[in-house]
Amino acid sequence: MPCKHYKNALVEAAASGFHPQGDLRAHLDTCASCRAAFEQEQSLFASIDIGLQVSANAEVPASLLPRVRARLEEASAPRPIWVPNWLVLASAAVMVVAFIAARSVWSTRVVEKPVETAVKTIVQPPQNLDPSVGDPAENNSPSHRELPIAKNPSPHETIVRGKTTPEVVVPRDQELLLAEYAEQWRLHKHAPLVAQDSDGTVLAPLQMDQIQIAELDVKLLAEEKSQ
């Protein structure tokens, strides 16, 4: 055990690495225990220094600098990040615009088709009409001939059409006028629809025979059973 009075001085002298001077030096010359303690402290600090040197001067891996240089190459290579970003954004925008345009065109056609179909249905000259009502010469006019004549739709087709295309019922004498208007509309001319006065032809009311129903012969159930 070192002397209490010199204990701190011994530690500090060992930590500083200098040789003890003056009073401490004189004490160490005379006190064996303090001298042993001082040597022990010096040994401890020497161990610490050696350990520190070992850790501080570790061999540098040979791969360190080549790796750093490779990463520097990557870092300093031109990175045109904005080009792909720009391209991606531009192509996405083009696709969106194309999609919107396609949708609007498609929806316009869907709107146009029912009108056309309705007109076709209206202008179709009935096959079994009374010849006295319509003038055959008028039916042969070029404008009338250009109008498409739809075949009689099948029952299923009628149902389908009925869902989407409203049928317009007009007086027989205005069929031609409506057909011409429809044709103009189809050609995107949008001619104003001018109503014409009726030629005064009064349609005869539909004549139907009265329904004849024979008298029912109702018998009582009891009678029927007895028979």
Partner: protein
């Protein structure tokens, strides 16, 4: 044949060429310092982390960061100090993150890394003592630890360290003194235990 030059929006071809030339200059200047300062970054990192793989990662990262910001460093003579601080800070972050702690230093206690012929200090070559020293070093305040590590590295004088860290030589000496004394206090009991076996 026409040469295609990639030009960023808002820049002319002339600007782009000037920029590339400046980058090449920076790269050349940095590479000139790399061979000298790369090992320093590694050793600082290893002194903190005590693991070769982690230290190499950290040193690489520190050098890359230094390269990225190299053009902003006005006083290029301060590069070593700057790099040391980056490496030290990154190593501390890595140490604190606790990642790969279980892998830490298998190499540390291997015989080839210990002093050969070890003077009279049998204690120092003891792997057990070395482990205690590592722990004690890790508990030191950052300022003391960095100065002690730099002082332990070969070729660094007190003046070098003072210049590197931008502190006075007196401060360097006192930090070394206090750091060693704190280590000694922590290791004294272990040293006695090991010696008496």
């Amino acid at each position: 044949m026409q040469e295609l030059v990639l030009v960023q929006p808002g820049r002319t071809v002339g600007d782009e060429l000037e920029h590339e030339a400046a980058q090449a200059d920076t790269r050349r200047e940095f590479e000139a310092r790399l061979a000298e300062c790369g090992p320093l970054a590694y050793r600082v990192a290893r002194g903190v982390l005590r693991n070769t793989a982690d230290a190499e990662d950290v040193a690489q990262e520190a050098l890359l960061r230094a390269y990225r910001s190299f053009h902003r460093l006005r006083d290029r003579t301060r590069f070593r100090a700057w790099l040391v601080r980056i490496a030290f800070r990154l190593a501390l972050d890595r140490l604190r993150s606790g990642k790969r702690r279980e892998l830490r230093d298998t190499i540390w206690s291997q015989p080839e890394h210990q002093p050969r012929g070890a003077t009279a200090e049998d204690l120092a070559v003891s792997s057990e003592f070395q482990a205690h020293l590592d722990n004690a070093l890790a508990e030191l305040p950052e300022k003391l630890r960095l100065v002690l590590l730099l002082a332990a590295m070969e070729g660094h004088t007190i003046d070098d360290i003072a210049a590197m860290l931008g502190i006075s030589t007196g401060t360097v000496k006192s930090r070394i003194f206090y750091a060693r004394r704190q280590l000694a206090e922590k290791l004294r009991c272990h040293a006695n235990t090991i010696k008496t076996r």
